[in-house]
């Protein structure tokens, strides 16, 4: 696990070399440019908010920012895996809410932490398997599959699985409530959870055979198939990972807010997740980008949203602004990462 890593996107390399010390001028390649632009944009906005917005650059606010962003970031990691594999998972918010609410509910009924977690994980995996099976074997476009599965799962959750729409964090789970509460050396545990998830997903994507397969089948599913890569099982794996990551995000979220709101699916949160991924520079055409892009995208979106909240921008206005930014990011993505003419016709999302 040492030495250089398998360079899936030509991008990891660019990032590695583009650290503060490495002069970046010799590096060409749009992906890198886009990352740099987003990073600079983040720095500029952060600086502007710090100077202009009273109350932005305070310890309390920055902690809030990082806490809110961390859950979004964790979701972004899961989404990134699917998008790199040339898909999209709109059911992630449902996978965030329902499996973790199941854990809370079972724990509150004294089933024990291990059993509750196991049930939650099984449900998350089942959602991933369902998504993956429909996309890979029934060949339904991922956009529709995951939209339908997401609505269905959220519906099951809302229609009587739980006693109340808001499932409280039970006392029985006090042993693991640290994942969303408290802090280590001033850093909230939820942020540490994001960092940990980023490291795990990063290692999986770049250092394991399966991660390499996800990159390959996202880049060119036909070539991957001919080369002997099991493309369909790999597709299923992507959605399973996304489901598990979403459930993890759900646990962090519910621990930090002491409850899980199962109505969360009605929120437009999934678009924030897509925004994070696309803005960070993970092309929807597949095979490009990595964890670093999610981190950059998360920081940028977190800062913008937090700043707007401080500025008292109304919720509707915030949605409008986010919508415009998402559209702009998608347009830039399709210009910067054009899909290959030939492969465009197959395996589309």
């Amino acid at each position: 696990m040492s030495g250089t890593e398998l360079n899936g996107g030509g991008q990891a390399e660019a990032v590695a070399k583009a650290g503060p010390a490495g002069g970046a001028s010799f590096l060409k390649g749009v992906a890198f440019d886009q990352q740099m632009i987003v990073l600079l944009l983040f720095a500029a906005i952060f600086l502007a908010f710090s100077l202009l917005l009273p109350g932005f650059f305070t310890v309390g606010n920055l902690l809030t920012l990082m806490r809110t962003v961390s859950v979004l970031g964790i979701l972004g990691l899961g989404m990134a895996v699917v998008v790199i594999g040339r898909g999209i998972d709109l059911s992630m918010i449902a996978s965030l809410a329902v499996p973790s609410a199941v854990v809370l509910m079972l724990a509150s009924k004294d089933y024990g932490i291990a059993t509750s977690l196991l049930c939650g994980v099984s449900l998350a995996v089942a959602i991933g398997v369902l998504n993956g099976f429909l996309v890979a074997y029934a060949e339904i476009p991922s956009l529709f599959t995951t939209l339908a599965v997401g609505i269905g799962i959220a519906g099951i959750g809302q229609s009587g699985l739980f006693e109340y729409e808001i499932v409280p964090w039970p006392a029985q789970l006090a042993a693991i409530s640290w994942i969303g509460q408290g802090s280590l050396l001033g850093i909230p545990y939820s942020v540490l959870a994001f960092i940990a998830a980023a490291i795990i997903v990063g290692i999986f994507m770049r250092k394991t055979r399966l991660g390499a397969f996800i990159y390959a089948s996202g880049d060119n599913p036909n070539a991957a198939r001919i080369a002997g890569i099991p493309v369909r099982p790999i597709l299923m794996l992507q959605y399973i990972i996304a489901g598990l990551v979403a459930m993890f995000a759900g646990l962090v979220l519910s621990a930090s807010s002491s409850s899980m709101d199962t109505r969360i699916f009605n929120l437009t949160w999934i678009y924030d997740v897509i925004l994070v991924v696309v803005l960070g520079g993970i092309g929807l055409s597949g095979g490009r980008g990595g964890v670093i892009n999610v981190i950059i995208g998360t920081l940028l979106i977190g800062t913008i949203v937090n700043g707007m909240t401080i500025m008292n921008v109304s919720f509707e206005m915030q949605n409008l602004i986010k919508g415009v930014v998402l559209l702009a990011a998608l347009s830039i993505d399709s210009i910067v990462n054009p899909r290959n003419e030939e492969t465009a016709q197959q395996g589309d999302i």
Binding site: T4, R209, Y215, R225, P230, V231, E342, T343
Partner: protein, 496 residues
């Protein structure tokens, strides 16, 4: 004759690579102009720019002495330029008449009205097509007639054909040539892309030859013969070195590695039977529609044979039926695709990663990757196949066709296959790299591997093969020894 269309310094750049570079081209009124060149020479890109499908990066298009900008195919149609594609752009579920008037219907579109109008118009062109028939039920030649009629109906003065005869039978071809003559008589200018030199020589007035995106020469057809065209297309007389010598000895057949019997795939492969032996190169020659690619894709598990009466495939005497290529790869079969962009390489990855991906696909039970492995495996194969790239980390997409092909070959060879199927191994490959790829193929056979070379380029199969199989309409019909075979004999077997 006066010029109708002029291209000045026309250039199209894709991903920093010029597909067409600074082309000056003149089309005269009422002439038939053949556009020749190897795959990847830029013929399609050039004609697509003329038809408004692709916008030029720089340069101007001058029609009737005026500069024009063609942003969409409908711009081009309005200017009187129509393009007939290989894959027809007709709507199969509509009738001929509906297709003819598609997009130009009156507000109240009376079926009887357009049928009569279509009938009259077809008669005026002396085309024998029933306007009430669904287009989907027509043969390739009739579909082409409908396309031409549509272009004529839209008052096209320039019609561009992209390989119009590739899918036609000899009889249909003759008819097509008559159509072209009719168009010429009506003062329509025709540009057609072709791979068949004889066709170009027999029906065109002038010929333009492209090579590597540049225009090599334009001249009256009368001033050309086959040799001059080939030389201009290939650019060097190297083709003499490559293909000039006749094969005098063949490798003996080793054990029977592959045997296919009575294979069926839909309408494409019909009762195909053949065998491939170790330690020699089996050449498969056949035209488009001979089912040669499909047969071997079944062997490699990339497509499936018919479920009932699909025939048998035996690998080393063992009956196999692969669902996915992963299974055939495990059993030592490598299929090296004829279309490397679609099925060959991973465009975002470096050469080394591409090659390593081949190894990963074959390895089982491995979980962790080691960074150094990518480099050592990649560098070993880059060196052994002489893949040349501008920089070490260069991505495959930035390579020349020949080097791309070598990278794709390396990606398969790293899997240490026993049966290697090359499908059009030198399509879109520069001449220098062709020689190197041929060396690689020969080396594999010398090492005792069973090698299959599918090619529609006669000199190539004749030069490489130790055994020559000719496929026609879905099955292998004849076997030749390359020592006795002549191009004429092979072509005769492939066509009749």
């Amino acid at each position: 004759m006066s010029p109708i269309l002029e291209l000045r310094q026309l250039t199209k750049v894709y991903a920093r690579v010029a597909a067409v570079e600074s082309i000056d081209f003149t089309l005269l009124k009422g002439e038939v102009h053949a556009l020749l060149g190897e795959n990847g020479a830029g013929k399609s890109t050039l004609t697509k720019m003329i038809a408004g499908v692709v916008s030029p990066t720089s340069g101007t298009i001058v029609l009737d002495g005026k500069d024009i900008t063609l942003r969409t195919p409908s711009d081009a149609l309005a200017a009187g330029i129509a393009m007939v594609f290989q894959e027809t752009s007709l709507v199969p579920s509509m009738t001929v008449a509906q297709n003819l008037f598609l997009g130009n219907e009156h507000f109240f579109n009376r079926v009887r009205g357009i049928n009569i109008a279509a009938q009259q118009f077809m008669q005026s062109l002396s085309f024998q097509v029933d306007p009430t028939v669904q287009v989907g039920s027509l043969g390739a030649a009739k579909k082409q007639m409908v396309e031409i009629a549509r272009a004529m109906l839209l008052k096209a003065r320039i019609i561009v054909f992209d390989e119009p005869t590739a899918t036609l039978t000899p009889e249909e071809k003759r008819h097509f040539f008559e159509l072209v003559n009719t168009l010429r008589e009506r003062g329509v200018s025709v540009i057609f892309i072709s791979h068949a030199l004889e066709e170009a020589l027999s029906i065109s007035d002038r010929i333009t030859i492209l090579r590597d995106g540049k225009l090599v020469l334009t001249d009256k057809t009368a001033n050309f013969d086959r040799a001059r065209i080939v030389q201009a297309m290939v650019g060097r007389t190297l083709s003499q070195e490559l293909y000039g010598t006749r094969k005098t000895s063949v490798r003996p057949a080793g054990r029977r590695v592959l045997s296919v019997s009575n294979l069926r795939v839909g309408n494409v492969v019909k009762n195909n039977s053949l065998s491939v032996f170790a330690g020699q190169i089996t050449g498969i020659f056949g035209l488009v529609g001979s089912g040669r690619t499909e047969t071997f894709k079944v062997v490699a598990g990339a497509i499936k044979r018919d479920y009932t009466n699909g025939g048998e495939v035996f690998l080393d005497g063992k009956r196999v039926r692969y669902r996915v290529p992963a299974q055939s790869v495990r059993d030592g079969v490598a299929y090296i695709t004829e279309d490397r962009k679609i099925e060959g390489f991973f465009e975002t990855m470096s050469i080394k990663s591409n090659i390593f991906m081949g190894l990963l696909a074959k390895l089982r039970g491995k979980f962790w990757l080691k960074g150094r492995e990518v480099d050592t495996v990649g560098e070993k194969w880059v060196k052994s196949l002489q893949v040349r790239a501008v920089s070490k980390g260069a991505r495959v997409i930035e390579l020349s066709g020949g080097n791309q092909q070598k990278a794709v070959i390396a990606k398969s060879l790293v899997q240490e296959p026993e049966l290697i199927i090359f499908d059009e191994p030198t399509r879109g490959v520069d001449v220098g790299a062709i020689a190197e790829i041929h060396q690689i193929i020969n080396r594999l056979a010398d090492e005792g591997k069973a090698v299959v070379v599918i090619s529609s380029y006669l000199p190539e199969v004749m030069q490489l093969s130790d055994r020559l199989l000719v496929a026609r309409q879905g099955k292998v019909v004849e076997e030749f020894s390359p020592i006795e075979a002549t191009e004429e004999k092979l072509m005769y077997a492939a066509v009749h």
